[in-house]
Symmetry: C2
């Protein structure tokens, strides 16, 4: 059939005798569906399928996605059906094959509806009959992992993911199956899978993303099998008393601002079942107004997830793979559903960046809107995302200037984040010029790479990646926060002191108690723009109060090649020692160690053609250590990355203060350098009676002061005098600029 | 003047009274020029300027470049003229300002011709009068470097570059200057500058790229000042006897294939004066047929330079900055001139990649052709680039499959490359999937970064980057080739044995004698495609013959994160020793050391979502060492990169053999892995009487054999028997495949 028919209206004129051999068009498939209404699709309505089938090809994004899906599925169909006995860990052959199978089932159901081609039904039917033979024979997976092993996969979580995907494909073809096959597949695949997932409270009745996948799988299966009991349990917990279940998860796992306790990496992962199940609920039980629950928190969560990214990649806080970003499949679903409900054109630019969409009614709306040119740039903006179900358990502070490729400072004042949380209270990250500059290691894991322990979290995730010293925050006596016990960490959250996000001045401040017995620390960070500086700079003040003298370490993990070290140091150039024994210190090689001093020092590095000058000091003498990760790593599991550690010994109290200045340009192509010199001459810290102040002295003569009151709630006046000049302000903090002898409050 | 006139034809209707204050249109500027014909432009003819002025705006690429240039120049004009007394090294303020000034002079001359705006003339005139006051007062630069310090810059090379650029701008405005100013500038800037450059044989009479810049500067100045004597000296050397000078440089610095002895990085740098001066010669003395010299070698050199790149970056052999690539300014000029002379549409895709062009007659032709959609993909293809003026001093072998983003293997069998050459005979590089996989460190230098020793070559360039151990080739007794003496290196070149570049089989082979006393080594490498392998693989056979027992080291510098080490080794995880004392070994940390063994081992790594499995063995027991650069580096000048070293002790002769297999895909976004397992089961080496053979055994059962005769010139039959199977072939080498017991010659 070489001749191409341009549209449905032309088919009769153009196809002639070919028509008889063409697959039934989608409208006929839908007609068949109504003949057995108890099997008609419910996750997407027949009318919606018809609309996609008739309109999809008009919209390039939808048509391209359909073509891509078709090509992939055809390739799998050619390879033949393969439903192997489960044997392998993540990344292994049987694991990957079962993953491909659920993708194939979803694709087959979708393409059948879009094209009416019954070959897809037959392929899915035959594969599902294989599963119907296999599944009842399965016990716990031989490589079973965690408290509840899966059946098809090694961890039960993967079984949930299989079901969430496969049941959508099944829903689309169920009414096209012979009744006997449908019965076989209902009874031997979907019902027992759902029952298995719901049978174990440790899987089903939890407030945790694994459980969200489980309830989404069982709930969606409940709708498809017309099993309202299963739906109820999924929504309200296995005891149907609302202690657990989907609704309770919505209430507890998100903060009122849509932040998810585990952080963006898991927020992304959890988002898919939240949104897919919510969408199924909305279609089948709109009276539940699921998307309005908690002031629309599910849709807020989509926006928050995009806001929690830079350069297309999520902020890698807690256990996170660095290469995960806004183009992940889960967020493709999220953007589609959020756009369909809000019509917000800013989401469309994210869809463009993703380069794909889902073959769903929501995907069609995205494709239509993109074709209509409705996309607007996503509005990346500074924000404080409160954490905790009630929004009073710390938060994630995001300071931003210069939009998408500009500066972003992330201060992590959030809750622990459960078992995937890192011990990094008041940690910070900094991005500039499209690059991570002050970094977080993320997790130590090679997802799905079998040679790396089957792709699970490596031992180094616990021994390095989670430890405090692997982050940019205070370590006391070489131990991690909460002594590395995440359950203790769950009990204590930071207190956000204040948050300001103006055009030229953005400030975040938080206090942490109880990360160490008797130690309180407060971090205040500002992103400041000034006409005499090429780019905004970061001021950082970390004030520590302890009950007894201790060793205080403050690491800074930076990205770039060192250009200059503005301090004397003993160098370990021909025998490289390890920094410490435990809690992550055993993974750090020591390259340089300066004598202790109170004078401000500098370190400058070069990254992607831009210079970064870091000027740092402390109220008590500190050593500067230059270190690199990678020690005690027999299997080469760690990346090797540099850090600077400021170390103060035997003090009760200390203030660490610093400024990070991005500047200049190194252009290797055009062979020029400009702005290689820092525009900052000095950084001075002065203590008043009830406040501290940092004064930044620029090469231009201008001065920028940041005053920070000890008590952020007091409304009174504070005074700090620097070289005879009295800085005065009211309230928690103030930026005060002086130019040529004048003072200007901002 | 808010109102915008759409085209020249509308000016009268639209501009009204504004017309009087508009700058003269370009045609009038050209008219003025003819009034003083001895000052009319000669580097670009008045007619060519007129054509650009009248047609340029029609072509988006030209118009965009003009707008960009205009914006940059306007910014400089607003900043005011600044001709500082020379004081700083590379990267310093006065250095960068004088660089900006020559760019401004070139831009001002060009824009005056394109727009007729005399403001540009005035700006250039005032700047040049500043130079006329300054230049006669200058002695050797206070930071003077090398045998001949510059005047305006610390090294005389930069003075030459200044003149090449500035004289082009001056040529464009010279007839628009008052006679007195012209005289002043001729006499106090351009003539003395040219005379200074020509005055010192160590600068002017050399066969070296520095001298090419010098002769181009003086020759172009000669045309502009109508000083034929200066032109003659530039073309034929200061004694006008053709011992030196531009023509001799063309004859000696390029091989017949257009390869430039120093390698692509310096080929790029040298290309600009070669082509700019040649273009000037062609315009003023077309009878010299300069572009036809040596069978058009100058235009071949442009093609070769693009061929010597991967992913847009030049192969970093010898002293090379890694981020230099086809988008450098020099090659922008090169592509323009080459396109104008050949009309080859393949060059236009390079212009597109460059994203810019020059505001010259050639740039206009590129812009026109791009507008006409004439661009074709550049044809990256395998080739042997013979080295040496007569093409008999080794060569650069480039094996390629899969086009631009496919596989590229570079075997460096070239001459020494003078003072910028590295000691790396028969070194190799490998690229795949858009990435460097087997790497070359390039040079140890932060170009123009003042904090890094003023931006010059660092001490580590000599102590590390040039040394043999920093490369992927044979080191004997921990010493570098020629004992690190480049002048000795100049005397000896490798011998190319054979080169084959078919679709599925590409092979390069060369022999090196005299890199070490009494040691001969031969390397044969093949890039092989096979239906049972997902991607082409590299076979490598390095045969060494020495007069006495020695330590033979063979490093492999690889890019990626180690996934698995298929061998037992002592690990240095908590105290990292240095590998050796000198010749680069002092810069290597030792991470792991295996016992000596003759069994083939494996090392696998992951890079940008693809796995690389390296299987290696040797005819005598070898240790496997895992090392990393960065030891004995007090100023943090080195990048820290991993390498594998195979070490054979106390042998006279040894064959190292290996296969490098790219395979599989790790997709972090979509969370899948496939093809993580190598498809190669074994690699066997067997010695015959007059030949060696490698047999690659695939998981599929297929076998691929590569037979290599000791004497590549013998036409006779060779036989090597492996496990009872006799492989027979005629001539230097052969690929022989066996599938399920059958043998197929390719």
């Amino acid at each position: 059939m070489k001749q191409t028919c341009l549209s449905f209206a032309l088919v009769l004129a153009c196809a002639g005798g070919v028509l008889a051999t063409m697959p039934s068009p989608p409208a006929q498939a839908a007609t068949t569906a109504t003949s057995e209404s108890s099997a008609a699709p419910v996750l997407v309505t027949p009318a919606q399928w018809q609309q996609m089938a008739s309109q999809g090809e008009r919209y390039p994004w939808f048509a391209k996605e359909q073509a891509r899906t078709e090509a992939q599925l055809r390739k799998m169909m050619r390879a033949g059906i393969d439903v192997p006995f489960p044997k392998d860990k993540g990344g292994g052959r049987t694991h990957e094959q079962h993953k491909r199978n659920y993708q194939a089932l979803l694709a087959a159901g979708t393409l059948y509806r879009l094209t009416g081609d019954t070959e897809y039904v037959d392929y899915a039917r035959r594969m599902l009959l294989e599963y119907a033979r296999l599944y009842p024979t399965l016990g716990p997976h031989p490589e079973g992992r965690g408290q509840i092993p899966g059946r098809v996969f090694w961890q039960v979580l993967n079984d949930s993911v299989w079901l969430v995907n496969a049941v959508q494909g099944y829903d689309a073809i169920r009414d096209a199956l012979p009744a006997k096959d449908r019965q076989t597949i209902d009874d031997n695949v979907f019902r027992p899978m759902a029952e298995f997932l719901a049978s174990e409270p440790k899987n089903f009745d939890q407030i945790h993303n694994h459980s969200t996948w489980a309830v989404a799988a069982t709930g969606m299966t409940g709708y498809v099998l017309r099993d309202q009991e299963l739906v109820e349990k999924s929504l309200r917990g296995s005891r149907k008393d609302d202690t657990f279940g989907f609704l309770r998860q919505i209430d507890l796992l998100f903060s009122p601002d849509g932040y998810y306790e585990e952080g963006p990496y898991y927020q992304r992962y959890a988002l898919a079942p939240f949104l897919l199940f919510a969408n199924a609920i909305e279609r089948n039980e709109p009276r539940r107004k699921i998307f309005e629950r908690r002031d629309g928190v599910l849709l807020k969560a989509v926006d928050v997830l995009v806001q929690s990214s830079y350069g297309g990649l999520f902020f890698p806080i807690n256990d996170a793979i660095l290469d995960k970003g806004v183009d992940t499949e889960e967020l493709v679903a999220g953007i589609g559903i959020a756009y369909a409900r809000t019509g917000d054109g800013h989401l469309l630019s994210v869809a463009e960046q993703q380069g794909r969409l889902l073959l769903t009614p929501e995907g069609l709306q995205v494709a239509q809107a993109l074709a209509d040119g409705k996309a607007k740039p996503f509005d990346y903006r500074p924000m404080l995302l409160r954490d905790g179900p009630d929004g009073d358990r710390g938060g994630l502070a995001i300071l931003r200037m210069g939009g998408e490729g500009g500066q972003a400072l992330v201060q992590k004042d959030t809750m622990q984040g459960m078992g995937h949380g890192h011990f990094d209270k008041l940690n910070w990250l900094f991005y500039d010029n499209g690059q991570p500059v002050v970094t977080d290691y993320g997790s130590a894991r090679f997802l799905n790479v079998e040679a790396k322990r089957g792709g699970i979290y490596l031992a180094e995730n616990r021994s390095w990646a989670k430890q405090t010293v692997a982050h940019n925050t205070l370590v006391v006596d070489e131990r991690s926060h909460f002594n590395g016990d995440w359950k203790r960490g769950e009990e204590h959250a930071p207190t956000v002191r204040f948050f300001q996000a103006d055009e030229d001045t953005q400030v975040a401040s938080a206090t942490m108690r109880d990360a160490y017995p008797g130690v309180t620390f407060t971090r205040t960070q500002a992103l400041l723009r000034h006409p005499d500086l090429g780019l905004p700079v970061v001021l950082d003040l970390l004030q520590v109060q302890g009950a007894k003298p201790a060793r205080y370490d403050l690491p800074l993990h930076f990205n770039g090649h060192i250009v200059s070290t503005g301090f004397q140091a003993e160098r370990f150039v021909d025998q490289r020692p390890v920094l410490g024994k435990d809690n992550g210190y055993q993974h750090l090689w020591l390259d340089a160690r300066s004598p202790a001093s109170s004078e401000a020092r500098t370190l400058a590095w070069l990254l992607d053609g831009r210079f970064y000058s870091y000027r740092f000091g402390s109220s008590a003498p500190a050593q500067a250590l230059l270190v690199e990760s990678g020690a005690n790593d027999p299997e080469f599991n760690l990346r090797r990355e540099p850090a600077l550690v400021q170390r103060v010994e035997g003090q009760r109290a200390v203030s660490f203060f610093s400024v990070l200045e991005p500047h200049g340009e190194y252009n290797g192509t055009a062979e020029y350098v400009h702005g290689a010199d820092s525009q900052i001459r000095d950084l001075v810290r002065v203590r008043g009676t009830d406040a501290e102040l940092l004064e930044l002295r620029l090469a231009s003569g201008a001065r920028i002061a940041l005053g920070v009151a000890d008590d952020s709630t007091s409304e009174g006046e504070h005074t700090v005098t620097v070289d005879g000049h009295a800085y005065r302000w009211h309230g928690s903090h103030a930026r005060m600029d002086r130019t040529a002898g004048k003072e200007a409050a901002r």
